[in-house]
C-alpha cells in the first residue's frame, strides 16, 4: 500500500473545505432571506454537528497517529461520559471485570464440595467520595452530587489518558503491521468491550446527567433561538480544531506524526519513533473523544450506552470527507452533517415531503452520511489515502479444503443425529449456529477470498428476510421459491453496494458498507411501507405437505409420541442448506474463479496484469456473498417466524464480521467455527449451561476474544487448529506444514491465469 500522492486529484482538503463552506453559505443565505423556520432548523443541528465533529476529530487523530480507523471512537466517548457520571454522581470510579488470581482456588474448593468457601474479590468500584444528603420528593430520593464538576472532569481526563495508553500498548501497537481487517476487527472488539463494561456496571437504563454548560435560550437575529450550550459546544469544538491544526502544522510533534502517517520508514530515518507518536496520539484521541462524550452527556442531560456510541457513523463520514488528515475539513463536515440532518428533519414535517405508509420516508437523516460518502467516492475514488506503514502483513492464508464432501457428509449425519437426540436447548443452539455459519460463509467469500471488508452482510440477509415475509404474505409464493427470491433481492442490493468497491478498498470500504447498513436499516427495514406497522411475519416452510418449521409438531422417530420443540427437521433443513453452501464455497475456492479472487485479494495490479478482471471478480464476489447472506436471512426468518429491523441492523453486521474473523475468515472451517460462536449458538449455550457464565458477560468475553485473536492469531480459531494439526503431522513426519501452506498460497498467483 502506498499513499496517494501520485494520483492526487483536484479535490484537496482546502478545496473541499471551501466547497462545503460555500455550499453552507449559499444555503444559509437563501434560507435566511426566505424562511426563518428553516434557518432555525438548520442552526438547531449545530449541537449534534459539534458532537459529530468532535468524534470525527478523534477518529482523524487516531488515523494520523496509528493508521487505525477507530470504530470504537463513539464508544470511547460514551465510556468517558460514564466515567464522569460515576464520579460526579456517586463518587465512584468503575472498573472493568478483571481476572482474579484467587478464583481458581475458590472454584476448585467449590468443586470439592465446600460451597461456603470464599476468598477476597476484585472490587468493581473504587469509592472516592460519597453523595451528599438526599431529600425525598414524590417517593424519590434526590441526592446531592458526590464530587464537584472540576474534580470529576480532572479525574475523568486522567482515566481516559490511561485508557488511551493501554489501548495503544495492549491492542494497537501489536497490530501495527497487521492487515487492515485485523485493525478493524480489533476496534470492533474494543467497541463491544466498552459497551459491555458500561452495561455490566450501570445497566442499559438511561442515567440523568446534570448540565455543565449554561442552557438558557440565546436569541439570535431574525427570530432564531438556540440553547446556549449548543453555541458553547461549537465554540469548544472550533477551538480544539484550531489547536489540533496548529499542533500538526507548527510543532515538531505534529510534523513528525504527519511524516509518519505518510511514510513510517521515512519518519524512522528522520529519528522519530512511530510507536511513540502513535501512543501519544492514542492518548490524545481517547481524551478528546471521552471529554466530548462528557460534554455530550451533559448537553443531552442523559446518558445511555447507545446514543453517543452510534455517532460514529456520521463521524466516519466527516472523517472521510476530511481525508482522515484535515482537521478543519473534518470539523466543517461534522457541523455540516449535523445541520443538514436537522434541516431534513424539519422538511420531513412538511406536507409535501415524500411519504411511505402514511409517514415521512424514515431514515433520511441517517442516510445522509451514506450519500455524502458516495459523493466523496465518486469525486475522489482512488485518491482516498491509505496510510503508509513499514510493513503490512497479508490476510490469513485461504486453504483449499481437502476431502470436503466426505467430511461434510459425515459431519452432517452426526449433527443430524444430535439434532434428534439432544435436548431442546442444545437443538436450538445448533440451529442458531447453522444460521450463523451461513452468514459467516458469505463473509468468507467476500472478505476471506477477495479481501473486501463488508459491514453490511446482515443488512443483505435482512433484505432477503423482509422480501420473503412480504412476498410470502402478500403474494402467497410458496417454499422454496420465497427464500430463493429473497436471496435474489439480496443479490440485487449487494451488487449495488458492491459498486463502491470498484473504487475503494480496505477500511474505506468498511466505512462505506457500514454506512450502507445503517441506511438500509433505517430507510428500508424501519419503513412501514416495507415492514408494516404490525411487524413482518414469515410463515413456516411447507413442501409437498411436509411441515418442518421450528414450531411445527413432530413425531419421535423411535418410541413414538410427540417430540419437544423446536422441530429437529427444521434443523435438518438448515443443515442441508449449510452443507450445500459449504460445498459450493469449497468449490469456488478450488476453481479458477477462486484463484482469481485470491489473486485480487493479494494484489489487484498484479491480478489485472495476469489477465484477471478485478472489477468482475469483485462484483461476482459481492453477488455470491449477498446470495449466501440472503439465504441466511431467509433461514433466520423461518427460525423466528418473523423478521425485525433490529436483528438485521448495522451493529449485528459488525458483530458477524467479528464472529467470522474470530472463527477464521479465510476458510470454510472458519465459518463453521464462526457459526458456533454466534449469539445463542453452541458456544454461548455451553458457556451458560455448562460453565455457568452469565450471558451478561458473553459480549464482554466476545470482545476480548476478538482483540486477542486479532493480535495473536489472525488466522482465527480454525486456522490455529489447522496449524496445530499440521505441526503434529509434521512431527510425525507426514502432511503439510504452515510453511507449505504459505508456499501453496504463493503458488496461487502463479496459477492465476491457468
Amino acid at each position: 500500500m502506498t499513499t496517494s500522492s501520485s494520483t492526487r486529484s483536484w479535490a484537496t482538503p482546502g478545496r473541499i473545505a471551501a466547497i462545503i463552506a460555500a455550499l453552507l453559505g449559499v444555503v444559509l443565505l437563501v434560507l435566511i432571506f426566505t424562511n426563518v423556520n428553516q434557518t432555525q432548523a438548520l442552526f438547531l443541528g449545530l449541537g449534534v454537528g459539534a458532537l459529530i465533529a468532535a468524534i470525527a476529530l478523534s477518529v482523524t487523530l487516531n488515523y494520523q497517529g496509528s493508521g487505525v480507523v477507530n470504530f470504537a471512537a463513539g464508544a470511547i466517548a460514551m465510556y468517558g461520559g460514564y466515567v464522569y457520571y460515576g464520579l460526579r454522581v456517586n463518587g465512584q470510579l468503575f472498573l472493568p471485570p478483571l481476572p482474579n488470581p484467587l478464583a481458581p482456588i475458590e472454584g476448585i474448593v467449590h468443586l470439592a464440595g465446600n460451597k461456603s468457601f470464599n476468598l477476597p474479590n476484585i472490587p468493581v468500584f473504587i469509592t472516592l467520595a460519597h453523595p451528599g444528603a438526599g431529600s425525598s420528593s414524590f417517593g424519590t430520593i434526590i441526592r446531592q452530587p458526590a464530587m464537584p464538576v472540576w474534580l470529576a472532569l480532572l479525574i475523568s481526563a486522567g482515566v481516559l489518558a490511561i485508557l488511551g495508553l493501554l489501548f495503544h500498548l495492549l491492542i494497537f501497537r501489536p497490530l501495527r503491521n497487521a492487515p487492515v481487517l485485523a485493525k478493524v476487527v480489533a476496534s470492533v472488539g474494543l467497541f463491544i468491550i466498552m459497551q459491555a463494561i458500561v452495561v455490566l456496571r450501570f445497566t442499559s437504563s438511561a442515567k440523568a446527567v446534570t448540565s455543565i454548560l449554561p442552557t438558557s435560550p440565546t436569541h439570535l437575529p431574525r427570530g432564531v433561538t438556540l440553547p446556549s450550550d449548543q453555541l458553547y459546544l461549537v465554540g469548544i469544538v472550533v477551538l480544539v480544531t484550531l489547536g489540533l491544526w496548529a499542533l500538526f502544522r507548527y510543532t515538531r510533534f505534529g510534523l513528525a506524526t504527519r511524516a509518519a502517517a505518510e511514510n513510517e520508514k521515512g519518519a524512522i530515518v528522520l529519528g522519530y519513533s512511530p510507536d511513540f507518536l502513535a501512543g501519544v496520539n492514542w492518548v490524545a484521541s481517547t481524551v478528546l473523544a471521552g471529554m466530548f462524550g462528557i460534554l455530550a452527556a451533559a448537553i443531552n442531560q442523559s446518558l445511555d450506552p447507545i446514543t453517543i456510541t452510534l455517532l460514529i457513523v456520521p463521524a466516519l463520514a466527516a472523517s472521510l470527507l476530511g481525508r482522515f488528515n484535515s482537521f478543519i475539513v473534518t470539523m466543517l463536515a461534522g457541523l455540516g452533517i449535523g445541520m443538514l440532518s436537522s434541516w431534513i428533519q424539519y422538511l420531513s414535517g412538511q406536507s409535501w415531503f415524500p411519504k411511505a405508509g402514511g409517514q415521512p420516508i424514515p431514515g433520511l437523516t441517517q442516510a445522509l452520511p451514506f450519500v455524502i460518502i458516495i459523493i466523496v467516492l465518486v469525486l475522489r475514488g482512488k485518491s482516498l489515502p491509505t496510510r503508509g506503514s513499514v510493513e503490512t502483513v497479508k490476510l490469513p492464508f485461504a486453504p483449499r479444503a481437502r476431502g470436503a464432501v466426505p467430511t461434510s457428509l459425515i459431519g452432517g449425519v452426526a449433527v443430524a443425529v444430535i439434532l434428534f437426540v439432544t435436548s431442546p436447548d442444545w437443538r436450538l443452539a445448533i440451529v442458531n449456529s447453522l444460521v450463523g455459519v451461513v452468514i459467516c460463509l458469505s463473509l468468507v467469500v467476500l472478505t476471506g477470498y477477495v479481501g473486501q471488508i463488508s459491514l453490511m452482510q446482515m443488512a443483505l440477509a435482512g433484505i432477503s428476510g423482509f422480501t420473503l415475509s412480504k412476498i410470502a404474505d402478500a403474494h402467497h409464493i410458496p417454499f422454496p421459491f420465497g427464500p430463493i427470491l429473497g436471496a435474489v433481492a439480496a443479490v440485487a442490493v449487494g451488487l449495488i453496494a458492491g459498486v463502491p468497491a470498484l473504487r475503494v478498498r480496505g477500511v474505506n470500504l468498511a466505512v462505506v458498507t457500514f454506512a450502507a447498513a445503517v441506511t438500509i436499516e433505517q430507510m428500508v427495514f424501519a419503513n412501514p411501507a416495507w415492514s408494516g406497522l404490525k411487524g413482518a411475519i414469515v410463515a413456516p416452510p411447507r413442501l409437498f405437505g411436509l411441515k418442518f418449521g421450528p414450531n411445527d409438531s413432530w413425531s419421535k422417530l423411535f418410541g413414538g409420541g410427540e417430540g419437544l420443540l423446536p422441530n429437529p427437521w427444521f434443523g435438518v433443513f438448515c443443515l442441508v442448506v449449510v452443507i450445500l453452501l459449504i460445498l459450493a464455497v469449497v468449490n469456488i475456492r478450488s476453481s479458477r474463479v477462486g484463484r482469481h479472487m485470491l489473486a485480487v485479494r493479494a494484489n489487484e495490479r498484479a491480478a489485472a496484469a495476469a489477465g484477471v478482471s478485478v472489477s468482475g471478480t469483485k462484483i461476482l464476489a459481492f453477488g455470491v456473498a449477498a446470495f449466501i447472506a440472503g439465504l441466511g436471512g431467509a433461514l433466520s426468518g423461518y427460525r423466528f417466524g418473523s423478521v425485525t429491523a433490529d436483528y438485521f441492523g448495522a451493529i449485528p453486521s459488525m458483530l458477524f464480521l467479528a464472529f467470522a474473523y474470530l472463527g477464521g475468515i479465510s476458510s470454510v472451517s472458519g465459518a463453521v467455527v464462526g457459526g458456533i460462536i454466534v449469539s445463542g449458538g453452541i458456544l454461548t449455550t455451553f458457556m451458560s449451561h455448562v460453565l455457568g457464565i452469565p450471558e451478561t458477560y458473553t459480549l464482554f468475553l466476545a470482545g476480548l476474544g476478538l482483540i486477542t485473536m486479532a493480535i495473536f492469531n489472525p488466522k482465527g480459531v480454525a486456522g490455529a487448529l489447522r496449524d496445530s494439526g499440521h505441526a503434529i503431522k509434521g512431527r510425525l513426519g507426514r502432511g503439510t506444514t504452515p510453511k507449505a501452506d504459505a508456499e501453496a498460497e504463493a503458488g496461487v498467483h502463479a496459477k492465476v491465469g491457468a
Binding site: P97, G107, F138, S302, L428, N551, D646, G680
Partner: protein, 446 residues
C-alpha cells in the same frame, strides 16, 4: 463498594490449567449479573412496615400466612441485560412473589416459584418460548416488557400455553390472539388521549404537533391510533419521528420541525429518557407549548432529573390512577396502588417503584387470584380459558370491563379499554379525566 463473586462452574473451567488466566477472568465475570434462566422461591422477610393485607387477601382469594409445600411454577420472561432492558419488571415480579408467598398464602397454600428467562436478543425470545413450552410444570407465562424476542416468544407459545402480557410496547404485543394484557397499554392510552383532545379536553384545538420515537411501538401508536382520530375530527397533525436514541439537540430540532412551539397541543410519544430530552428542549428553546403525553414520562428518572418534581402544566395519560395521588376509599385501584407502595417499603425500599414494576406486581396478584380459583391441578387449557375469560378488575387498574378479545378489533390482546388523564400543576397532581373524578375515558369506544 461492590465485589465480584465467583461460581463453581467457573472454578471447573479454571481447573483446566492451560487456560487458567482466561478461567480467572471468567470467574471474575461470574459476578453481579444474574443468570439468564433461574429459579427462585421466596417467602417472607423484610422490614417492620405493617401492611393491612385484607384488601390483597380479598383480591387474591388466598389465606393469610406463609405458603409452604410444593411450589407452583409460573413462567416469567423479561428483557434484561441488553440494551434496552426493563429490570424494573423483574423487581415488581420478585416483590409480588415475596409478598404473596410470605403473607397471602401463595396459591392455595403453595408458594409461587418464578421460572425466569431473560431476553436480550431475538434468539433469546425463541429460547425462552421453547423453555416455557417444554416445561410441563409451567402452565402459565407472564411477560414483563419485550421489544425484541417477543414475536419469537409468541410464535413458539401461540395457542399452546397461555400468556399474560405485562407492559406491552410494540404492535406485536397487541395483535396477539392467544396472549392477553389486562391493561389498556400504549394503544389504549394513546387512543384515549386523541379522543380527549377531540372532545375538547384542552380547549379548542386546530393543530397538533407530535414528536414520536421511530420504533415500532411509538410509530404504531402515533400513526394507527393517534393521528387518524384527530384527522377525522378535522384537526391537523404534524408528526416528526426521531430515532430512539435521539439526543437533546436532535429532539430540539424535532420539536421545531413538528411545530411544537406554535401548535395548539404538543404531544411527545417517547419513553422516559425522551421525555427528559423534551422537557429540557422546551426550556432551552424558551417555548411554552401545551404538552400532552403518556404515563411513560412520569418515572423516577424524570423526577430525579428535575430535582424532585414534574414538568409544570403537562398532561399525562395513563391507566386512571396515579402513584402520586393519595388513595381514595371508594376507588379500590387507588388503594391497591397504595398497598403496593407499602409492600415496596417493606420488602425492597430501594427499588424503582414507578414505571413497569407496579403493573407487573399487579399481574402476579391477578395470577394468584386465577390460580386460587382453578386449583393447583388445573390443566393448561383450563388456565388458558381462565386467562382469556378473566373479567376483572385487574389489580391497580380502575378500567372496566375486562373483556379479552372484545375491546379492540385491531388489538385483540387488549382486555381493558379505559384510561385516565391527570395534570401536574403548581406542584400538585390534578385529576382531569380519571378514576378520581369518575371520568375515565373509553379509549376504543367509537
Amino acid at each position: 463498594m461492590g465485589f465480584a463473586k465467583m461460581s463453581k462452574a467457573a472454578g471447573a473451567f479454571k481447573s483446566v490449567g492451560a487456560i487458567a488466566l482466561a478461567g480467572a477472568l471468567v470467574a471474575a465475570c461470574s459476578s453481579g449479573g444474574g443468570s439468564s434462566s433461574s429459579s427462585t422461591t421466596s417467602g417472607g422477610g423484610g422490614s417492620s412496615t405493617k401492611i393491612d393485607n385484607s384488601l390483597a387477601l380479598k383480591y387474591t382469594g388466598g389465606s393469610a400466612g406463609k405458603a409452604s409445600g410444593t411450589p407452583i411454577n409460573v413462567g416469567y420472561v423479561n428483557q434484561e441485560s441488553g440494551s434496552p432492558s426493563y429490570p424494573e419488571n423483574t423487581q415488581g415480579a420478585d416483590l409480588a412473589v415475596k409478598y404473596i408467598n410470605g403473607e397471602l398464602g401463595g396459591i392455595q397454600g403453595h408458594p409461587i416459584n418464578l421460572v425466569k428467562c431473560f431476553v436480550s436478543t431475538e434468539e433469546d425470545g425463541q429460547k425462552c418460548g421453547t423453555q416455557m413450552l417444554n416445561d410441563s410444570s409451567i402452565k402459565l407465562v407472564v411477560t414483563g416488557t419485550l421489544v425484541v424476542g417477543n414475536a419469537s416468544l409468541y410464535t413458539v407459545l401461540s395457542g399452546k400455553k397461555p400468556i399474560i402480557i405485562g407492559n406491552g410496547l410494540t404492535a406485536t404485543d397487541f395483535i396477539q390472539t392467544a396472549a392477553f394484557t389486562y391493561m389498556p397499554g400504549a394503544p389504549g392510552v394513546v387512543s384515549g388521549l386523541a379522543k380527549w383532545i377531540v372532545d375538547g379536553g384542552v380547549g379548542k384545538v386546530k393543530n397538533v404537533a407530535v414528536v414520536a420515537t421511530n420504533d415500532a411501538g411509538a410509530k404504531a401508536s402515533a400513526q394507527l391510533l393517534f393521528a387518524p382520530v384527530l384527522e377525522k375530527a378535522g384537526i391537523t397533525v404534524k408528526q416528526v419521528f426521531v430515532s430512539p436514541t435521539a439526543q437533546g439537540a436532535e429532539v430540539q430540532s424535532a420539536i421545531k420541525a413538528a411545530g411544537g412551539d406554535t401548535a395548539d397541543v404538543f404531544v411527545p410519544i417517547t419513553p422516559v429518557q425522551g421525555c427528559i430530552a423534551v422537557a429540557d428542549a422546551i426550556k432551552s428553546l424558551g417555548i411554552h407549548p401545551k404538552v400532552v403525553t403518556t404515563g411513560l414520562c412520569f418515572g423516577t428518572p424524570l423526577i430525579q432529573h428535575l430535582g424532585g418534581t414534574f414538568p409544570d402544566g403537562w398532561y399525562f395519560g395513563a391507566y386512571g390512577v396515579n402513584y402520586f395521588v393519595p388513595p381514595v376509599k371508594s376507588i379500590p385501584a387507588s388503594e391497591e396502588l397504595a398497598l403496593y407502595e407499602n409492600v415496596v417499603k417493606k420488602y425492597n425500599p430501594n427499588m424503582e417503584y414507578t414505571g413497569f414494576a407496579g403493573p407487573t406486581f399487579g399481574n402476579f396478584m391477578t395470577v394468584t387470584q386465577l390460580m386460587n380459583k382453578l386449583g393447583t391441578d388445573a390443566s393448561v387449557t383450563q388456565v388458558a380459558d381462565a386467562v382469556k375469560g378473566f373479567a376483572g378488575p385487574q389489580w391497580g387498574i380502575p378500567g372496566t370491563p375486562v373483556a379479552c378479545g372484545q375491546i379492540s378489533a385491531s388489538f385483540p390482546s387488549i382486555c381493558v379499554g379505559q384510561m385516565g388523564i391527570e395534570q401536574f400543576k403548581g406542584g400538585k397532581w390534578i385529576p382531569i379525566a380519571d378514576a378520581y373524578n369518575n371520568k375515565l375515558i373509553n379509549a376504543f369506544a367509537s
